[in-house]
Amino acid sequence: MRDYLSWMKDILAFTKEQMREIDSSSLLQLKNISVAFGKLTAVDGVSFTIRRGDITSIIGPNGAGKTTILKLICGLLPLSQGEIWFKQQRLDKIPPHHIASLGVTQVFQDIQLFSNMSILENVMVGCHVWTDSGFLNTGLKLPHAKAEENKIKEQAISKLSLVGLEQKAFMLPSHLSWSEQKLSGLARALAAEPDLLLLDEPYGGLMATEIAMLSRLILQLQQDGITILMVEQRTDEALEIANQVVILDSGEKVADASPTEIRSNAFIATNYLGGRVKGMSEVHHAASK
Amino acid sequence: MDLSIVLQFFISGVNLGCIYAALGLGFFVVYSVTRVLNLAQGEFVMVGGMLTATFYSMGVPIILSALIAIAVAGLLGGILHCGVIHPARNLSKATQTFLTVGFAFAIEGIALLVWGWEYKSLPNFLSTPNIHFGGATIIGQTPWVTGITLLAVTGLFLFFGHTLQGKALRACADNPLGAKTIGISVDRMSLYVFILAGAFGGIAGAVITPLTMVSYNIGFPMTIKGLLAAFVGGITRAEGVILGGMVLGMAEAIAAGLMPSEYHSIFAMIILMAVFLCQPHGLLSSSGKT
């Protein structure tokens, strides 16, 4: 009997090990997720997997459910159906701050810097996840809190210099240009040392030179081992740096492939790439003609 | 249990409930349109009660005294809007709420200057004697409280449901931005609701004075009682506020009948606090709306 048990244990351990190996390349898995706001289904049965170290771009017309998916991943919206897995852990049952502590951070489309804090302080807030000194510790300025505060400051300054903003550390967000605000938001997210970085329209409102710079920065982050999932309207730029492209339309997944495959598909290229992005209704209209 | 006791509970419960509802509705009308919590609401009640008593003691007939007092309370609501809230309309709702606290303190101070520490009282309206009915005793003022509150509430519903201004107010409450785009002046609407809230407070003050004496400092306690009714039922809906008031009145009446006197208020409070903590947005809340 005992032998049988230990044998079962071995088998289980073996399968677990194998599963981990199979899964080791995948960091995030969306399994058939749906979300509905009242009668409106914003995301409808979407599944895809993001591999560790990749840059994945989600593209699609307005209202396709792209931003909703990012919000679902970081727990700001509840799922109606489906599962989200991150590093063998289920995300869709835990609160957003817990998800953040597992290594997922998002930069919002509108950045949402804290306007009551300097840029440096904003980035320092990013270090919250990997520090732990609480009220008593910080209020009494115990050695632990002091040491942490120094580490936080160091980290914040290093992330600010990574995005080239160390000169603006003591300014308030309102005194920065849009692109500087975007970079501050990125620095704040990076200060958390995330494994998975969610970017909502990182190129929005930027000029060509700024876009090129941001692309280089994102590629550098990829080199540093950060997996990136971005949502973007600018399809050309999004395809250029991506390893994987997911196309969404009206809450449904239309395609999930490499940029080359996406570009070579005539249907997708005419309807979802370049210039203006058409919506599903227009696609149906074109197809029926 | 004796039927007459049940009847007694019911009658005093409805009576107290009407008072709570009247106190709470003042919050509702202002909050629904402006999203400001008017913490000076109780001062309107105080002014309504004190003025009615003052005019009555000067020999003015009681109904006329009450009408004048209600008008003055409404005017005071208008002053609060024009002098304090309107100039600060671009500031946050939190700031505007605290502005009403400042106004309340000022009014309370002025009331103390004018009336001193003296408590004022009134006889029952038209000196209605106590009524004995089915073994229960109904205090003569009770029908007045219930009747006038019901009249005011009916008036409010008719106003909101059937007049152009009322519909405009509802539009403001549902969607201020949308209301603005179709040409409704949100500023004017918010003036109306402050006047309305003032008058509501005045009515409550006039009708309760024969039951509980009033003095310059009853404002904040009245504010809190109204808030309680509004929160228990859900401040976003008039029906909620009325229901909250009724639940509160009933609980207090039953507690008063069944428990030693020193415990009755606290018993009612604890029940209601429990309701309110389990259902944080009130019994009749539109889901999650704050």
Binding site: H128, L140, I152 | G102, F105, I224, S265, I266, I270
Partner: protein, 333 residues
């Protein structure tokens, strides 16, 4: 370079702190008992207000319930010493635990609500507390309150009032130092992220890993603990307490002190408390003599007008007037 500016500023802050401490310790040498009593009142109010400033100014949670926790502290201390014969200092510590636990429970329930609704609900707490105190006569003495509360001073080397004075102000300054540390730390920053009144955002805070609800409840509890400490000192100092003191008026007055002083910094508590108490003294002394009228009337009017004026014209309170550069330009330099 900028970094040094920032550091020098906090150093200056601590220098001022040291100077003020010395000043306050030497006051009893030249002030009479009457003025000492006023300065003690200021200290009591300042401690309660400081707790509120952490809650409102940092975390942006509008609370109008500080008097409840002040009362809980005072009654806990009074009941523990008079009925259970605890030593006063032990009673003070137990009062902190009692008040803190109650506040944590209330906070967990109330802080699920948003914005100004929280202010309304916490205001209601005042009424519930006063009903409780009036009802539980065996415990609280009802409307008569509690008398013969022992003094804090363990051995009688100096007069009780002098001991209380020193004890109060040392506690006040320790709490100030604690608050200043807190504001300039990981905790303070986390609190400011949820301050929707001034540029915070709860969603962003959560995405950055901050447990918003936990921090709200903790800071609410901390604010209550400040009030509880003030309440205990108050009860032991006066030797008797009555329920009238711990009402909605006190909660509102404390909120006015916080707003008038300025909520961005814990210093605002001292400024607000000193200003309003000073004003009360002045009006109490002169107004009823110069222009007749019942005492208290002019104070109420003045509180109201000052609150409205500060909210309209000095939304940051008086604190920025005492800083060399307003916070905005300080950061942009």
């Amino acid at each position: 370079m900028n970094k040094t500016v920032e550091l020098r500023r906090t150093k200056a802050e601590y220098l001022i702190l040291a100077l003020v401490v010395v000043l306050f310790l030497s006051i009893p040498l030249f002030a009479g008992p009457y003025h000492l009593a006023i300065i003690m009142d200021i200290g009591i109010y300042a401690i309660i207000t400081m707790g509120l400033i952490l809650l409102m100014g940092q975390a942006g949670q509008l609370s109008l319930g500080q008097a409840v926790f002040f009362g809980l502290g005072a009654y806990s201390s009074a009941i523990l010493t008079t009925q259970h014969h605890f030593a006063p200092w032990l009673a003070l510590l137990l009062a902190i635990i009692i008040t803190g636990s109650i506040a944590a429970g209330i906070g967990r329930a109330v802080l699920r609500l948003k914005g100004i609704i929280v202010s309304g609900v916490t205001l209601v707490l005042n009424l519930i507390f006063s009903y409780l105190v009036l009802s539980l006569i065996n415990l609280t003495g009802g409307a008569n309150g509690i008398v013969n509360i022992p003094h804090l001073s363990p051995v009688k080397l100096i007069p009780n009032s002098l001991f209380d004075y020193y004890f109060l102000w040392i506690v006040a300054f320790l709490l100030l130092a604690f608050s200043l540390n807190l504001v300039n730390s990981r905790t303070g920053r986390a609190l400011r992220t949820m301050n929707i009144l001034s540029g915070g955002g709860e969603e962003t805070a959560q995405v950055l890993g901050i447990n918003v609800m936990k921090y709200k409840v903790q800071v609410f509890t901390l604010g209550a603990v400040y009030a509880s400490i003030a309440g205990s000192i108050y009860a032991h100092h006066l030797g008797s307490i009555e329920p009238d003191i711990f009402g909605a008026h006190l909660s509102l007055l404390v909120a006015i002190m916080a707003i008038v002083g300025g909520m961005a910094s814990p210093w605002g508590a001292f400024l607000g408390a000193a200003l309003l108490m000073g004003l009360t003294e002045l009006l109490g002394k002169f107004a009823s003599v110069v222009v007749s009228g019942p005492t208290g009337a002019y104070e109420l009017i003045a509180y109201g007008i000052i609150l409205m004026a500060v909210l309209r014209f000095l939304p940051q309170g008086l604190i920025p007037l005492f800083q060399k550069l307003p916070p905005q330009s300080r950061h942009s330099k």
